[in-house]
Subunit: 399 residues, 2 copies
Amino acid sequence: MWYCLRMQRWWIDTSSEVEDSIVRRILSLAAGSDIISFAGGLPSAAHFPVREVGEVLESLAREPALVRKALQYGETEGYRPLREIIAESYQRKDGLPIQPEQVGITTGSQQAIYLLARALGQRPVVVERPTYLAALAAFRLAGNGIREIPLPEDGPEAGGLPDVEEGMCYAVPNFQNPTGITWSNEKREVVARWAKQRSILLVEDDPYGELRFRGARQKPLAAFAPAHTILLGSFSKILAPGMRVGWFVVPQEGEQLFAKLRSLKETADLHTSTFAQVVIAEYYRRGFAQAHIEAVAAVYGKRARLMRELLAEHLLEVRCTDPEGGMFLWATLPEGMRARELFHLALEEGVAFVPGDVFYATEPDERTFRLNFTAVDEAEMEEGVRRLARAYARARRGT
Amino acid sequence: MWYCLRMQRWWIDTSSEVEDSIVRRILSLAAGSDIISFAGGLPSAAHFPVREVGEVLESLAREPALVRKALQYGETEGYRPLREIIAESYQRKDGLPIQPEQVGITTGSQQAIYLLARALGQRPVVVERPTYLAALAAFRLAGNGIREIPLPEDGPEAGGLPDVEEGMCYAVPNFQNPTGITWSNEKREVVARWAKQRSILLVEDDPYGELRFRGARQKPLAAFAPAHTILLGSFSKILAPGMRVGWFVVPQEGEQLFAKLRSLKETADLHTSTFAQVVIAEYYRRGFAQAHIEAVAAVYGKRARLMRELLAEHLLEVRCTDPEGGMFLWATLPEGMRARELFHLALEEGVAFVPGDVFYATEPDERTFRLNFTAVDEAEMEEGVRRLARAYARARRGT
């Protein structure tokens, strides 16, 4: 009889709650092959501050007391000097009166999204249409009810905001992933007013905000609705993703939310790598951060312009957004074409992107796709768009 | 009307799903004060391999290509060279035919427990009585049904194992946290047989296994029930906890379980710090690991002996376990006394420990408490036990 039971070991055919990530599959497919990838969300490794990080490591090697601290358990809420650096940055750049006590360090901002999804419980979450793929995965896993709002090129309209009484609104108002869209100040005010009239927590995810290459820095949502906004940030795009260090900033009177997120995080991983936090804090203390951010934003700006030029030259019928910063632009195929079909032909031609359907919580727009313009250099980009144009021509002909 | 709604912002009085951790409160209480703490689970910072890590950092600073890799996004399953190091170590030390593909890197082994709790869903989890506090928190948060098995000093008896058909059994067979108990080979076989006759996944959590200071290394549960055991390990106790790098090893035919855990992890934090993983892999590649482990185990052995001698001298009526390794011993007060009462008097006298009740899933034994013998040096330990003896005398007198 127990032979029979042995056949039924539950972990042998356990189903994945979240679908095996298409992005992961594409990334592992593209890695090491000669496929030019516009698919990932990778920053340009060529522009990592390798020399500056090397200097930090060398000086750290000469400070045994600091190494000792970096090696020990730390507090769940994060390394205090790093929390101070983050709070000070909001004060200086946005005039927000953020205190270090409002800042909690997370294992990438993905973890902050995940913890918020858990904290939200059965309440609904409102997201842009389309929105960040891994946020959708977190909301689905937590069983949150997901509501979409349309996303015009300057941010959501008042008429698009649902009449829910309580819940969360997750948004990426600067150079959104996947669209590259930035909300105007007017739209920020509209959404802030909507949240303030309800029991809605705005989750302002801003991993790309510093990577602006044209136009003026916008006021954060947190400036319009300070008591209703939790800010999320990350060092992934302004320093390096391999650190896996992000943060959240709870709103005023947010002590209970802070305590809840800290408690959930403690159960999830105790705390984020002290070692990585100390290295980042030292990097900032040495003043390396700002110059690097400006250099990277300049490079990304050049690449974004080049990609738009190349698309205009080789793929005139494809409409695309015109981002002011960040890492992505959003393309839409002419009526009757489907991005999934183009995707398979593009892989055959040796170029990858992400079909847009994965970024929708409900019925997708199947003509859309996301292009990353930061991970490949100019020469590869030209070759990649040429390959894309060949795939497009084949899709047009239906071959 | 919306003023009324504003008063009800859900995140203002959100309740914590998990009780605000007593350990965290004690740690922050003890930190920076002159309280001698036997409470935490901190390794001895004085014995961290600071010089060796410094050497790794210096050499890393001279390898820009490796720094670049350390700074980039990595695969969710972990940094391949580190997975190879872990697999090779099981092959060499335990003769287990572990392949790197079975190894998944986690943000501390706490994350592995958390992900397993999520993967388990509504199935029951069987735990030792008492068991590791933060594992209990993860099982409670995930809503797993928890069953306890009694824990005699050489491991669970056949008669104590519940007649459940499927689920998980979470255990720390070497120098358990909190008791310091090690399962005998006979008991390992008993539990393995029980699991193999059922759809039970054994979760063999072994963060302390390398920290043996007397007796012979035992065969892992995974050697008795290879198709039924998922191994958990961590660099926290054999290198440094501040890295936050642990791992799981899925059983044979465990591809589906691996895929599920990877998928859950991807949603939780994408992947563990590449930076920390690269530093650890370099530390191992330079051959620093084994000498450090042996040195630390020797220090901990001396401290464990000293603590037992001091307890025998000053607290003769308190019974305690005699660990062969690890970081903790487990004390039991005489009939009629309660560890919580002693705890409060002890804090007044300037010494801390963890009352045992928090380590029970059900009705606690209120006479028990946990003592850590690794975080304080010999002089502090003597003073700490003297303070404990004063608190004990007061508790005896009822003052």
